[in-house]
Amino acid sequence: MLLFSPKGAYRFWQRNAFIFRRIFPESIAVNFLEPVIYLLAMGFGLGAYLTTVGGLPYLTFVATGLVATAAMFGATFECTYNAYVQMYYEKVYDGAITTPLGIEDVVVGEILWGATRSVLYGTVFLIVIALFGTVRSPLALLIPPLFFLSGLMFSVIAMTFTAVNPNIDFFPFYFALFVTPMFMFSGIFFPLDALPAWVTTATWFTPLSHVVRLSRALTLGALEMRHVSDLVWMLVVTVAMFPLPILLMRRRLVR
């Protein structure tokens, strides 16, 4: 059975939130810094040569795509390294499941927390790019809920890897083979339609490209019918993969 208790999941989420609250100011400060550095380097550095891309100033083009990566990294770090350390080294999960919480609740709580961090990081990023004057539409207010969904998606994927990962040293593979290529080929730094057709097709299968398209559409107020397919893509992948980390983590910890 896959059943988790929403209250149990909320309790574990609450534990994570409690811990985060203490590092909140520092972590948010770092959070502000990162996009600023990216925008300065990419926007002003590269932007000096590339004046417009797809009819947008390069800074605007990069910023509106880059905001999606904050959401990806927030969830991914939470559900890879953080989750693994707690699960494997500190045995926090082993302790929690001796209470009314089941391993299902712990995994779901962790995924929800990953999504929460996506929203926090993504929103901070959004505020920064707004300060750079790249947000053009009130539709941008829909970005935090979008990041909750994309955070769930990236958390579920990362947690699936974490559940089967035999050793913490394998996480670099996850980043090198999955996260970084996605980062480079999701239409953040250059438009995908400029690539050979098969590459463009291939990028359709990467989760991040859909988040990028949606967040760019929302910040620029250029939402179209075709963006529904991006939303559906994310929903389908998230729902379809959702049972995986639960099953795999249960197989790992309680058998």
């Binding site: 208790s5 209250k7 149990g8 309790r11 574990f12 609450q14 534990r15 409690f18 811990i19 500190e90 045995k91 926090v92 082993d94 302790g95 929690a96 499941i97 001796t98 209470t99 009314p100 919480l101 089941g102 309680v254 058998r255």
Partner: protein, 313 residues
């Protein structure tokens, strides 16, 4: 005894991993208010049995009910009434000592205010009140173990499960933990513990089972087990010039004064009801051993006799 009043009731309990049989069809019952111990060498199946009782591992076969509920169907409801000290410490190093208790209490759905009140009372109980704000890393091994005990007591459990509560602790820390556990027993909390320390089982448990290779090989009160399986006294003879013929001569001399015996590489061990009489007999017959020790039989003798002397790691 009335079945419904048993705190734990196991019948034909089995846990298999592929072809490996960790627990091989054991049956036992734990009564309200008692301290029940699982004793056994490494790999005997003690921890696996404990994990099945605290509803983290599903049994492969057999019946297991805890607090009158079936572990397969009502795990969450059972766990809400248990206190568990796992074999490895599972403290949250991201949290302070007191926060460990408060956050854990929230898993049991206790309101914040109750959680904080119980946390403070329990820190007092396990003598950690002055360390409340410390990080877990700053605690000694004994303190961490006591914090685990305090954490297990947060839900005011009907049953406390302790998997090797004092392994790795120094004698002072062990004595303090024992004292706390005895104190709890007086308040009527049923306890189940596993241990590799015979003194611990003898000091805390009303009844024990000795496990070996997934099976229960003996069951009873510690003193009864010693009487049944070993007798009253143990005589150890060391330092014979040659062990080739000494055993035969010694055994011939003591006759039926010894209930049983063991011959090891460097000594002969005799189990008897009358150690002094046996020693006298040996010296009367002119048998000389460099060292002869007479001591009371302990649970360790039972343990070694039943589970053998070979290493299990």
């Amino acid at each position: 005894m009335d079945l419904s009043r048993r705190v734990v009731n196991a019948h034909g309990l089995v846990k298999r991993y592929g072809t490996l049989v960790a627990v091989d069809g054991i049956s036992f019952a734990v009564r309200p208010g008692e301290c029940f111990g699982f004793l056994g060498p490494n790999g005997a199946g003690k921890t696996t049995t404990m994990k099945m009782i605290y509803c983290v591992l599903p049994p492969t076969d057999g019946q297991l009910s805890v607090l009158g509920m079936d572990v397969r169907a009502q795990g969450r409801a059972i766990k809400a009434r248990l206190g568990v000290v796992t074999q490895d410490n599972t403290l949250d190093t991201a949290l302070s000592v007191r926060e460990n208790l408060v956050i854990f209490a929230r898993y049991f759905d206790l309101p914040w205010q109750v959680a904080r009140r119980r946390a403070d009372a329990l820190l007092e109980f396990v003598a950690l009140a002055d360390r409340a704000k410390d990080k877990v890393e700053q605690l000694s091994g004994g303190m961490r173990r006591r914090l685990m005990v305090a954490r297990a007591l947060l839900p005011e459990p009907d049953l406390l499960l302790l998997d090797e509560p004092t392994t790795g602790l120094d004698p002072q820390a062990r004595q303090l933990t024992w004292e706390k556990l005895r104190q709890l027993k007086r308040t009527g909390v049923t306890q189940i513990l596993t241990t590799q320390y015979m003194e611990e089982a003898a000091a805390l448990c009303d009844r024990i089972v000795i496990m070996d290779q997934g099976r229960i090989v003996a069951e009873g009160a510690p003193a009864d087990l010693v009487r049944q399986h070993v007798g009253r006294d143990v005589v150890e003879l060391r330092g014979f010039e040659s062990l080739d013929e000494a055993p035969a001569r010694v055994l011939g001399a003591v006759g039926d004064l010894a209930d049983s015996h063991e011959v090891l590489s460097d000594q002969i061990i005799l189990y008897t009801q009358d150690g002094e009489g046996l020693l006298r007999r040996i010296s009367e017959r002119g048998l000389v051993a460099e060292a002869a020790t007479l001591r009371r039989a302990t649970l360790e003798d039972v343990f070694l006799k039943l589970t053998g002397r070979s290493l299990r790691d």
